[in-house]
Amino acid sequence: MEAKRLTPATGPRPTSNWIVLWGSLTLLLLLVGLYLALLWAPEEATMGIYQRIFYYHVPAAITAFVAFFINLVASVVYLLRRSRIADAWAVASAEVGVVFLTINLITGPIWAKPIWGIWWTWDARLTLDLVLWVMYVSYLLLRQLTPRGELQPRLAAALACFFFVDVPINYMAIRWWHTQHPQPVIFGGPGSGLAPPMYVALAICWMAFMALGYVLLRLRIEQEMDRHALDDAQRALLLEDVGG
């Protein structure tokens, strides 16, 4: 009898269609991107084969920044409206952002070692990336350590506002701090301007990452909403037991 009553919340999922569609599109883009980045795009003049990691490094960063921006908007909307869907967007985008920023932070040193001769330097951009990563990991930890319910999204949204205000201050502090130290040996990255095929490879890789990010985001949002539905159903059952 209980099973029957729970049917609406756990019934056939509308997920199946879009996940097949978007999943295959993402897979296709990732494969094409892999081909373009590793084989098709011309070899860079000074950095040679090492430059190819750039096609993953940069799209990962941009995708992560987009995710963090979504997190900020969703958090502000949550504080104003207290809506579950806004919070689902916030948690999903923070997780997706951390994943992509992690990819960015791992691919960076792999490139830097053969090119700069060092794994890491406290250069302004690297430091800011790391600070952003540290912030959103602490955001996810806060969510993990707060009991579920109305409190968790509220605290998380407040923390997201703190991050937003903090980033520009960080930017100024880190830039000034950096300029006080000796400059590391930098070739200036891929420099100004890319060859047109490089742009194509970069654009396809970025689209692939954005599509992947979107699939993960949407799956995570649905999961979060399912969890709410399950919690509600459980609460309703409990109340019914108590009531009679």
Binding site: L79, L155, L159, F162, V165, N170
Partner: protein, 224 residues
């Protein structure tokens, strides 16, 4: 004006509680002293080294001691569940939060006032350094930590692993403030350059986060 009186009452109440019980203050102070003493074992306490990394050492010690003080800010309300009492009162949350900001600030400054001379002695800080500059940096930096830390302390009382979560929240957000306070202190310890830029940055951090903490006070101070 009424808000100001509420903030003042929150502050004086905290200070009075601290003066009466005293043991938490004593324990905190002793902990801070231990940190400085352990540092002088871990690092060579020569004047030359102090001029190079003294700012960092001093602020890590302050930060450790400060975290204990900040954790107390709302934990103090737990034994008698006085927090619920505060929250059931019609007092504006921002006024309560402001009182808590200042009480954390006062407690941290008191500990630092004892710690700073001890640090100067143990690490052979040259007597010719610009003490006024260091004191101003300490005041601005402590306010930065007190404001953000007190807000996160209010956040963390609702969570599991409260004492662990506070530094996890505070340290990432406080990074620009920590860079600024360490660099400003370093300028004076090494007697080179000026700290104006760092002071401006710290002051900006203080103003922005005080405003944000008060604005979002009722997000964390709410009856559940």
């Amino acid at each position: 004006m009424a808000d100001f009186r509420i903030a003042w009452a929150t502050l004086t109440r905290d200070v009075r509680l601290e003066l009466r019980t005293r043991e938490s203050f004593n324990a905190m102070l002793f902990y801070a002293l231990l940190v400085v003493v352990i540092f002088s074992f871990a690092f060579e306490s020569e004047a030359e080294l102090t001029a190079r990394v003294g700012g960092g050492l001093l602020w890590v010690a302050f930060l450790f001691a400060g975290l204990v003080a900040l954790d107390r800010a709302f934990v103090r309300e737990m034994p008698g569940d006085t927090l619920t009492g505060l929250l059931l009162s019609p007092a504006p949350r921002a006024a309560l939060m402001a009182g808590k900001f200042v009480s954390s600030f006062v407690l941290m400054l008191t500990i630092e006032a004892v710690l700073l001379p001890l640090f100067a002695v143990l690490f052979n800080v040259s007597s010719e350094v610009h003490w006024g500059g260091i004191v101003l940096t300490v005041v601005l930096g402590t306010w930065a930590l007190a404001v953000t830390g007190t807000y996160f302390s209010a956040m963390s009382i609702h969570t599991r692993h409260r004492a662990l979560l506070l530094p996890l929240l505070l340290l990432p957000v406080a990074i620009p403030a920590i860079i600024s306070m360490v660099q400003a202190t370093q300028v004076f310890l090494s007697r080179s350059g000026v700290a104006n830029y760092w002071w401006k940055l710290l002051f900006g951090f203080d103003v922005v986060f005080t405003a944000l903490g008060l604005l979002l006070a009722d997000v964390v101070l709410d009856v559940d």
